[in-house]
């Protein structure tokens, strides 16, 4: 017996649910994503192993709340800071730099100075409250 072959007509496929889903996905990724690139600054270096320490004395940089800088006690500007840091780190790449910000300075000011030091070649940078807190084991 030969059965009659039923031919189906391809029906119209509703695209609305698909479009809804795609828009929901788009919204999810748009809201859930972050387009900012994050990095890290070293607030304090890994502690040294207690071996050889640098022969050069650390440079003490103070930062006041109004952004004024001093280099071993002498008032300097940011250009001087970059220039002298580059000179010192060219001679000794382990030159210790101690940044002592005023308590009322803000985190952004500290980060900006640390950036300037790092961009000038300094690798051993640490934050201290005052000179008596400097611990050579930190370098």
């Amino acid at each position: 017996m030969q059965l009659a072959r039923r031919q189906r007509r391809a029906g119209f496929m509703g695209l609305t649910p698909l479009i809804d889903m795609i828009f929901l996905l788009l919204l999810f990724f748009l809201l859930g994503s972050d387009f900012v690139t994050y990095g890290q600054s070293r607030l304090a270096p890994p502690r040294g192993t207690g071996g050889e320490t640098s022969a050069a004395p650390p440079v003490v940089i103070t930062l006041s709340a109004d952004g004024a800088l001093s280099w071993n006690g002498a008032r300097v500007d940011a250009a001087f800071l970059r220039r002298e840091t580059a000179k010192l780190t060219a001679l000794n790449d382990e030159q210790m730099m101690v940044l002592m910000p005023a308590g009322s300075a803000n985190v952004q000011q500290v980060t900006t100075i640390m950036d300037a030091l790092q961009a000038s070649g300094a690798q051993s940078i640490t934050l201290e409250r005052d000179v008596f807190d400097i611990d050579l084991a930190d370098f």
């Binding site: 695209l15 698909l18 479009i19 795609i22 828009f23 996905l25 788009l26 990724f29 748009l30 859930g32 994503s33 972050d34 387009f35 900012v36 690139t37 994050y38 990095g39 890290q40 600054s41 070293r42 607030l43 304090a44 270096p45 890994p46 502690r47 930062l63 910000p101 005023a102 308590g103 009322s104 300075a105 803000n106 985190v107 952004q108 000011q109 500290v110 980060t111 900006t112 950036d115 790092q118 961009a119 934050l127 201290e128 409250r129 807190d133 611990d135 930190d138």
Partner: protein, 138 residues
């Protein structure tokens, strides 16, 4: 006078180009974006011009604009509690770094207090989370 009825029959709109564009947008967002970092509301990390890869740390501590330390969005923590937590987790013993996610408007006084307290707890390396920017905040 009777105007001629100009209503046109609405024909089906071809939706394929729309779907293509939306798929392309999804791909763009997927590739260019990354999952949100869930910083506490209102926290703005310091801007930096130094390119450095962001790495995970054994413990992340938030320092908000109100100069308070937090372990999560709403859980305030004191420095002595943090010191205890570091000892409890053995972070110093393993030589692992800590991450500080500080608001750029918080004071350096708290930054220094955190640095001192963690140094006393045996933590050497502290990483400050920054937002990479082309224009450094002066």
């Amino acid at each position: 006078m009777q105007l001629k009825n100009t209503r046109r029959d609405i024909k089906s709109i071809d939706l394929l180009p729309l779907i293509n564009v939306v798929f392309l947008l999804i791909l763009f967002v997927l590739i260019a974006g990354r999952p949100s970092t869930n910083h506490p509301a209102g926290l703005e990390v310091a801007r930096s011009t130094i390119q450095s890869a962001h790495q995970g740390a054994a413990l992340s501590v938030w320092l908000k604009q109100d100069d308070g330390f937090y372990l999560s969005d709403v859980k305030p923590v004191t420095l002595s509690e943090l010191t205890d937590l570091v000892a409890q987790k053995g972070i110093a013993a393993q030589g692992l770094p800590l991450e500080l996610i500080a608001d750029r408007r918080a004071t350096a006084k708290q930054l220094l207090a955190f640095r001192r307290a963690m140094a006393a707890a045996g933590i050497g390396e502290i990483r400050l989370k920054t937002e990479l920017t082309g224009e450094a905040a002066e």
